[in-house]
Symmetry: C2
Amino acid sequence: MMNPFDDNYFMKRALQEAELAFEKNEVPVGAVIVMNDQIIARAHNLTETLNDVTAHAEMQAFTAAADFLGGKYLNKCTLYVTLEPCQMCAGASYWTQIGKIVYGASEEKRGFKAMNTTLHPKTKVVSGILENECSLLLKKFFIEKRNLN
Amino acid sequence: MMNPFDDNYFMKRALQEAELAFEKNEVPVGAVIVMNDQIIARAHNLTETLNDVTAHAEMQAFTAAADFLGGKYLNKCTLYVTLEPCQMCAGASYWTQIGKIVYGASEEKRGFKAMNTTLHPKTKVVSGILENECSLLLKKFFIEKRNLN
């Protein structure tokens, strides 16, 4: 039997978070953190709402997951995030020792790959899951934003 | 007349924050953010207390300073921090567009310099202010820690 809880399944949940950000006029990035096929944290970008550049979806998700687990380390967890993490978020992931990062759309300029951010040596990376959907939501946001200004 | 509000003055304030961390059994790193010779945010490492690897002194100080200013960008501010920022904190500083970073002790392994983290192009960096004092407090912490275990 196929496991319904695959990368697509959890990326869809991260996309739902991104859509919540979109509705709040935030750059639409969403994230969930998963352990044993269970979502233990969900978050979306809130930098405008909180007036805080550190309020990326991933940062909030790391904090929430550690709070849920009662331990700082997320080595048994997977982060699903709709956009490739930036160097701040990748740097945070280093400290969490997260087991795996799965992202949707790439960030060619400010993503951790272009920035050469060092991940924890035990962190695996998977990219391009629901890439089109994740990317389209971001494009839609920036087009609407441009037309309003 | 000499300006009493020089880098040493503000690094001493950051050191006082680091001492508060020390007393809480946290890795003793402290930070203040200054605008127009006025401290607008102060923080110390709380990763153990909050069970959150993102609770570095700098991250909290960025959040507090933006909250104080009512704006996300800290381009007119200087961050004083007792230890060279890591890639997460340097990555956050990129988003804040902070005007200047002044740090005390160097972090040869996990500091943003060794990690090649990209700062905002407008961010100036000064290092080695009260380096010995900042470094000694960290050494004292790790020696005590080792002797207890």
